[in-house]
Amino acid sequence: MSMLKVENLGITFGGLHAVENLNLEIEKNELYGLIGPNGAGKTTVFNMLTGVYKPTTGKFWLDGEELTGRSSIEINRKGIARTFQNIRLFGNMTVAENVLVGLNNQMRYGLASSFLRLPGFFKEERDYSKRADELLAVFDLYDERDTLASNLPYGKQRKLEIARALATSPRLLLLDEPAAGMNPNETAELMNTIRFVREKFDMTILLIEHDMRLVMGICERVTVLNFGTELASGETSKALNDPAVVKAYLGD
């Protein structure tokens, strides 16, 4: 069974078909790319898969369980986590706290423990802050654990977003333009990190990207979108050489 299965997914905004008849099948532990020119509807797909928008047509399943139309919260609990194109961190909280918010749903102590500092509070806070530190170490952020997230340099903010998403222990990770605004060196480093995340956490990753070097470097398969419809899909190099794709990107 595939990790993510999307069938005929579509959404319209006031008569405009933002996405139409999208079909995807992503296998476990696969690195899959969703690419296309600006305005092709890529982020809209992410928004549907994470419950921000309710799709008008079609369905999708995670590991065989249908999640169409569920709320963001439920979908995250079921195992889909994401990052955002325009970084969305908790700016006035420290780096460690950002990750701890991601871990929140696994923590169990109740309100009484919070108010009264019962033993459960100390035990869980200790355990989970250790887990947060481990996650931060993976992304080379441990030394900044007490810095405010908004004071991090751009590249590290992107990494922190991935760390926070992973903290919710997802089965499927959606990355929305992880390399946006990065220089070639940073992009190369990011590619290594993404590969590493896949190995270490046995993660399935779907990513949106404009940087073709990154896509060709790490994605096994891609789907190319244009004006909300699928132009081509399949193995990365084949799909990118499809005449329709070349035409969409370069014109006639």
Partner: protein, 295 residues
């Protein structure tokens, strides 16, 4: 029947004045994106200016009215320049607190100059009434309705058909983009404050003619209700302010007129309860636009 009609007339009078004040709130909110808490107190200052003019007997009524509007417009302009402009770009809460500070400042200046007792205006704009069948209609009501209606129409035309109006619309949509397109944002905001405050001046005249009294807190109580009316109608919308103001005036007049004596203490409460209900059911007001944050 007689009672109902006179209650309705009362409600429309009150509602029209509310509508004018609500319009001031709405315009400033639409363009500067701030709740100008001091707006009501500008009206209070306007009424005091009428009071002062009346005490200098020689001034003819039209001059008094002009002075009132001018005082309010200048006050609005000055407050914007001195207190609000330096805070442009600050968090909206800071701006709100500053506006509250300005409101306190104006109230306490009035308290200092005129003391806390209620002052009465002697026969300002007493126009008598006309007989319609068996019914007496006060002329001042006609004046109030006429003024409000004309101002609404003129303002609507101004915003739709002049370049200044288009500049206002542009600034209210997106300050940054308007600036890039060559709109002078600071000047547009200044003009908005001047117009809004001049409207407050007109409202002050109508209020003075109707109620003939003033104290330092007149403006803030009246202002809060007018503000509620603006939100009720959908803040930022001119017809919304009109509808909101009129409904609030009618509701208030009807509850005062027809509730049993024992419940008259809650007449304000009912207006507020309706506002709360309204916004719970329709979070952006009657005619307001809904804003969605993009992900």
């Amino acid at each position: 029947m007689q009672m109902l009609i006179s209650t309705l007339i009362d409600g429309l009078n009150l509602g029209s004045v509310y509508a004018l004040v609500a319009l001031g709130y709405s315009m400033v909110y639409g363009i500067a994106k701030m709740l100008n808490f001091a707006h009501g107190d500008v009206i209070m200052v306007g009424i005091y200016s009428i009071f002062v003019c009346l005490n200098m007997n020689s001034l003819p009524v039209p001059v008094t009215m002009l002075i009132c509007v001018a005082v309010c417009a200048v006050l609005g302009f000055t407050v914007e320049k001195l207190a609000y402009k330096p805070l442009r770009g600050s968090p909206s809460l800071s701006v709100l607190i500053t506006a509250i500070g300005v409101s306190y400042l104006l109230q306490n200046l009035a308290l200092l100059f005129f003391k806390s007792e209620r002052r009465f205006l002697q026969n300002f704009l007493q126009l008598g009434s006309i007989q319609i069948g068996s019914f007496e209609l006060p002329v001042i009501s006609l004046v109030i309705w006429g003024t409000t209606l004309v101002i609404m129409i003129v303002l609507n035309l101004l915003i739709k058909y002049t370049s200044m109006g288009r500049a206002m619309l542009a600034v209210s949509e997106d300050k940054g983009a308007a600036q890039l397109m060559g709109v002078n944002v600071n000047r547009t905001i200044s003009i908005t404050f001047v117009i809004g405050s001049a409207l407050a001046g007109v409202a002050a005249i109508l209020y003075a003619a109707k109620y003939q009294n003033v104290d330092p807190y007149t403006g803030s109580v009246f202002g809060i209700k007018a503000f509620a009316a603006a939100v009720f109608g959908g803040i930022g919308s001119i017809p919304g302010a009109m509808i909101g103001g009129l409904s609030l005036g009618l509701i208030e007049a009807l509850t005062i007129g027809f509730l049993p004596e024992s419940l008259s203490a809650v007449s304000d409460g009912i207006a507020y309860a309706l506002l709360v209900l309204m916004l719970i059911l329709k979070p952006s007001g009657l005619l307001g636009k809904k804003k969605v944050e993009k992900v």
